[in-house]
């Protein structure tokens, strides 16, 4: 039971990170209707920028951990968001009216570019950092000496996910930008005729998605204590699985799907085999798409001629 509780906590934390990445997929798919294949690599870039800005701040002699984390968060969100904006501008916007496979292929190319770019710029080796946020609580002391631990880091990851999800649900449902986004999602031409700046709205979607991916990248860096240039691909596919599982186009769905994927992966590793955990995640993607293509909270897609 204690073991189960511990895995539950670990799964929820992993799922929160997936959920943060999944929001980027789901928002872009909702508006532009394309799988932003490079989104996993944006997450990786976010992790790298958090790492580098963290190193610089520490070497300047800053010691206040909350201040460092706040600055690192802001820097990585801003720069990663700019990556998202640039990629949309260069690789996706010229293809918006092209045939339907073109943006997807362009995105695959962009994903290769980003992976290789960070490999060339920062080297192929794994970058470790010492633990920044330490400490935690022992929730339950088991009879066999197995204790259920909840670390402060895990609390921060889950809290950050909840706060950001609330913030962005508010943004999409209450603000002008959110209304523009929902309008573009329904009908871009009509939205443009009614005075919505479609280009700007789509750009903002990419910017927000990349910003959230940067948060996920920073959380990953702090939680696992390392980043490497190759981590975007698998994390990206799993986050996309989460987005599909939750129902693509739905923000709470993305987080729900992320939590589900995180839990399944953790429990699979804990009770079956670690080697096949990715196989489990990918199989879920296939099974969900076959039996429940609209996901948990999605709306059915209407086929039109």
């Amino acid at each position: 039971m204690d073991y189960f509780a511990q895995q539950l906590i670990n799964g929820l934390v992993l799922g929160s990170i997936y959920g943060l990445i999944a929001i980027g997929y789901t928002m872009v798919y909702g508006i532009v209707g394309m799988i932003n294949f490079a989104h996993g690599d944006i997450f990786m870039i976010g992790g790298f920028i958090a790492l580098i800005s963290f190193l610089i701040l520490v070497s300047f002699g800053l010691t206040a951990v909350p201040l460092i984390l706040l600055v690192v968060l802001l820097v990585s969100m801003v720069i990663t968001a700019l990556y998202g904006w640039t990629i949309e501008r260069i690789a996706y916007r010229p293809l918006r009216h092209s045939f339907r496979l073109a943006p997807m292929l362009s995105a695959i190319g962009m994903s290769f570019v980003l992976t290789n770019y960070s490999q060339v710029a920062q080297g192929a080796r794994v970058k470790p950092i010492p633990p920044v946020i330490t400490g935690g609580y022992t929730l339950h002391e088991g009879a066999e000496g197995f204790a259920v631990q909840l670390s402060n880091m895990q609390i921060i990851v889950v809290l950050a996910t909840i706060v950001l999800l609330t913030l962005f649900t508010w943004l999409v449902s209450r603000t002008r930008l959110g209304r523009d986004m929902r309008a573009c999602e329904q009908d871009q031409t009509m939205a443009a005729l009614l005075g919505v700046d479609v280009d700007r709205t789509i750009s903002m979607t990419f910017v927000i998605g990349a910003g959230l991916a940067a948060v996920a990248g920073m959380m990953y860096l702090l939680y696992y204590g390392q980043v490497d240039f190759n981590m975007g691909f698998v994390a990206g596919i799993k986050a996309f699985t989460a987005a599909v599982l939750g129902g693509i186009g739905s923000l709470p769905g993305a987080v729900l799907g992320g939590l589900a994927i995180g839990l399944i992966e953790t429990f699979w590793s804990a009770y079956f085999s670690v080697e096949y955990k990715d196989v489990a995640a990918f199989s879920i993607l296939i099974i969900v798409l076959i039996f429940m293509p609209t996901g948990l909270l999605g709306r059915p897609e209407v086929e039109k001629v």
Partner: protein, 441 residues
């Protein structure tokens, strides 16, 4: 609508040097922020495991400078050529020249390919490269059935390549079966896996299908890595038998081909044999595809690519149509895999990564999705280009990625844009108004 207004503002404002400079300055500023930490600072783990960093101002400054210069050049080119959206018409003289070239290029290329081992007999490197190119031509033609003809985006094609390679490797090393028995088996097994995957997922459309096939490709690779007792895991399968000429080995022994023919043995014989083997397999793929295109099933594939909903309305069974396309493509992938295994003599899961799938897909897309000649030329360009960049090993994927993006932007239909349906109505028929009157259908 928005695209149009965007275009107008762009062209009307696109006069004058201040505008160009402003734009280039803006781009350089964006580049400065983008590269500031990723390029301007280099991190590396020190001897005691602690990360250290050092600044790289020169690299950062030169990159920003390149972006600035590049933006100026692009803006100037844009003004010089005109608005980017405008379609430039091909002059008729050039057009007829191109069609003349198109008619004779394929046979000329085929004759040249047949003569390659004769011309380059002494150059082992060129022969090896030619075999590699032909392998990708075959893979491209195989995937072309799925992507180019049926219009199904398959990101996991390498899975079938892997199934073919491992089928041959395991059957040959465990049971000692010969290449010629295993080749059809490898194709059948790959086709079987194609159907197995295809049956449930082919109800999906477009992007979803792409991501599922990608997941499937990864699952196959992960299983190959982890199922150590069968596949040898990351160590792969060594000692795969070389192919024989219908039982006659190409070795320096008394029963070898050289001894039987009474000529002096040379290791090049095997390379030449492999060359003609893959050429024959590739041509078989091409021939089958061309024939299939003229059968009802091929027509159905093309109809499916053009409009799935209309297809269903016309009573075409889309599931069967997609399945046959998937199975046919997978079978050719399996053949190519078996050939790959016998050529290498050693296979490991590392050869079957997502990058391979993307490379084959890029060949098909670059070749114009559906054009057989285009795919062959694209394979030659891509693999040849990869060889040219061999010295820049670390930058290879960077160049490859940018190439994919730029090709999509400039020529989304590929180098040889050929996607016209094989059959279409020659003249438009006038339909009498009596026939279409309301209430008469």
């Amino acid at each position: 609508m928005t695209a149009l207004s965007h275009e107008i503002t762009q062209t009307s404002r696109a006069a004058g040097i201040p505008f160009i400079l402003k734009r280039a300055f803006f781009n350089a500023l964006v580049a400065l922020v983008l590269f500031s930490l990723m390029v301007g600072v280099r991190t590396e783990a020190g001897p005691d495991g602690q990360l250290t960093y050092w600044p790289r101002f020169v690299e950062l400054a030169s990159l920003v400078g390149i972006v600035f210069g590049g933006s100026v050049v692009i803006e100037l080119l844009r003004q010089w050529i005109g608005p980017s959206g405008a379609e430039r018409l091909v002059p008729p003289a050039l057009h007829s020249g191109l069609s003349f070239l198109g008619r004779y290029l394929a046979p000329a290329l085929l004759i040249f390919t047949l003569l390659v081992p004769v011309i380059f007999y002494d150059q082992r490197y060129i022969l090896d490269l030619a075999i590699l190119v032909l392998t990708y031509v075959m893979l491209g033609w195989g995937l072309n059935v799925v992507v180019g003809l049926a219009g199904l985006l398959d990101l996991g094609y390498v899975a079938f390549y892997a199934v073919g390679a491992y089928s041959y490797a395991l059957l040959a090393t465990n049971f000692g079966w010969s290449f010629w028995i295993c080749l059809p088996l490898a194709g059948i097994l790959a086709a079987f896996w194609g159907v197995l995957l295809g049956f449930p997922v082919l109800r999906l459309r477009g992007d979803y299908l792409a991501i599922v096939t990608l997941a499937f490709g990864e699952i196959i690779r992960l299983v190959l890595i982890n199922w150590q007792s069968l596949t040898g895991g990351p160590n792969g399968v060594p000692g795969i038998p070389r192919p024989t000429l219908f039982g006659i080995p190409l070795t320096n022994t008394d029963d070898g081909l050289a001894a039987l023919l009474g000529i002096e043995f040379s290791p090049t014989h095997r390379i030449v044999f492999l060359f003609y083997l893959i050429l024959a397999l590739a041509l078989l793929t091409n021939w089958v595809t061309i024939r299939l295109r003229r059968l009802p099933i091929g027509r159905a594939w093309e109809a499916l690519r053009e409009d799935e909903v209309a297809c269903r309305a016309l009573g075409i069974n889309t599931t069967t149509t997609k399945l046959t396309a998937f199975a046919t493509g997978a079978m050719f992938g399996g053949f190519a895999g078996a050939f790959f295994a016998t050529r290498q003599g050693f296979i490991s899961p590392e050869s079957f990564t997502f990058q391979e799938s993307a490379l084959v897909l890029a060949i098909v897309v670059l070749g114009g999705m559906g054009s057989q000649l285009g795919v062959a030329l694209a394979a030659l360009t891509m693999i040849g280009g990869f060889e040219l960049f061999r010295g820049l090993e670390t930058y290879r994927m960077l160049v490859f990625g940018w190439a994919m993006v730029l090709i999509m932007i400039w020529r989304p239909r590929g180098l040889i844009g050929h996607r016209a349906p094989t059959v279409y109505l020659k003249k438009s028929q006038a339909i009498s108004s009596d026939l279409v009157k309301e209430g008469h259908g």
